[in-house]
């Protein structure tokens, strides 16, 4: 196993100020190795997204230690190198694309910001990579289906040729058939580019499909860590995890 590309120690994230302060994440430790796909599950509000956003620099108030490829992070500022190395895909494909920007513009801006050259050619390639033909290049988001939007979002994340992708429930807003397509795409991309994933989902089956290891979160902390084999077999030391597994397979009483 290579050195961890991402390591998080005693991460605490909060929102607001004392009387209304919400402690969303209370001491999380994580390590993700290069090339690995790591899952984060838990019920709604358990702090999964918040962990990702803190890493990405989208939650200003946090304490603890986050290191990405040896670079120690602080506050909400992130270096250009970080942006090149780490990208994120959001849960809601309807909210993650600017409604007035064409696919072309989204990708072109990203490429410019990442300091790439030869932008036209790269856009075409990116679109091919995520399985959207050139025909989609000049469309606006409202001319795309949810699955197509999520592909654009993935293309945007890939534009800077990152090493680590933070995936925040990338398929939960999609139909099962579309979900399958996106999951396949993610699998292929990881294989082709040697990407590392940190993926959040509340769907154990999805995590099981894509990840090798996972951690279970509850109320802002990690309550369990296991690998996929254990998950499949329902082997877990934690009651909560077993409860989650059971509940995900609804059986009529």
């Amino acid at each position: 196993m290579t050195a961890p590309i991402l390591s998080v120690a005693d991460l605490r994230v909060w929102f607001g100020h004392p009387p209304d302060r919400v402690d969303a994440v209370r001491g999380v430790d994580l390590g993700v190795s290069r090339g690995e796909s790591f899952g984060l599950v838990g019920e709604s509000g358990s702090g999964k997204s918040t962990v990702l956003r803190a890493i990405a620099g989208l939650s200003p108030d946090w304490s603890g230690r986050i290191e990405v490829a040896g670079e120690s992070l602080s506050g909400a500022r992130r270096s250009a190198a970080f942006h090149r190395r780490v990208q994120m895909v959001f849960q809601d494909p309807y909210a993650s694309l600017h409604p007035r920007h064409t696919v072309d513009r989204v990708l072109a801006e990203t490429l410019t910001l990442q300091g790439m050259d030869d932008i036209d050619r790269r856009i075409v390639r990116l679109l091919d990579d995520v399985g959207l033909g050139r025909g989609f290049r000049f469309r606006y988001p409202h001319q795309l289906s949810g699955g197509q939007r999520q592909r654009v979002a993935i293309a945007r994340a890939l534009a800077g040729e990152p090493e680590l992708l933070l995936l925040d429930e990338p398929t939960s807003a999609l139909d099962v058939s579309v979900q399958a397509e996106i999951l396949n795409l993610l699998t292929d991309l990881r294989a082709d580019r040697g990407l590392t994933y940190l993926m959040v989902s509340h769907d154990l089956a999805v995590i099981g499909h894509l990840c090798q290891r996972l951690a279970v979160m509850q109320a802002g902390g990690i309550v369990d860590r296991l690998d996929v084999a254990d998950l499949r077999a329902g082997r877990s030391g934690s009651d909560y995890t077993r409860h989650l597994i059971a509940a995900s397979q609804y059986q009529r009483a």
Partner: protein, 302 residues
Amino acid sequence: MSDVSLRDWLLTDAPQTRRQARLGAFYQGWLVFRSNHLALLGLVILVLLVGTAIFAPWIAPQSPFAQDLADRLQPPSAEHWLGTDALGRDILSRLIWGSRITLFIVGTVALISPLIGLLIGTVAGFAGGWVDQVLMRITDIFLAFPKLILALAFVAALGPSVTNAVLALALTGWPPYARLARAETLTIRNADFIAAARMQGASAPRLLILHIWPLCLSSLIVRVALDMAGIILSAAGLGFLGLGAQPPAPEWGAMISDGRTYILDHWWVAAMPGIAIFLVSLAFNFLGDGLRDVLDPKGAGE
């Protein structure tokens, strides 16, 4: 390209070029807009207004300045379609020439106020914290300040002229836009697509100008169109107090204010410019309503 295929080309789901995408988006908007007949009517009136302003020297039957005291206060007739004013000038010709001033007023105010508002509102909303506090206090002050006083003070300080009146209106009109833009920014700034752009390393000014402004702009445009009547009438109000256009400029508001002495007996002197203002503001209102359908997804039909 035949008509049918042009339409298809515009409406296609898969535009081939940037230009096609842009034109297509425009055309879609146009189709929505077109289905609102009143909005269309508003547009037609405004196009006519612009045409009138451009071609004023050729359209106007007489000089807007030529006086004839013997021929004053004539009711509408074949010779003077809209009658003459207190100095015997042809009202129609003055209205036609005045459209230039009206357009100037409307154009300038509609450009400056929302821009100031946009800048202040989005910066406040986006930056948050003390910047927001300070900017919003300033906005509050300007909002709480009697607007006419502020405008009067500006005009009085700068000297009465249309340009200054317009400037005054623009400088006093921005607070509501700032509030609107701020509210809009607050809803946008935490959107995922902003976060995504941040993740690409986009700087704050870039986010503000390229990502947030275009989204605030639509609701601002709608609002401006609806406020347009107010702008013309405020300019007329300043004119009424003698602080707008300088004589003999045929500014519509000033014309009404000239005619107010004669309202009871020579109704056309005030009514004609009044009707002109009414039509134009009505047109802007209709247009604003139509634009709302196109630009503002809220409130648009299900």
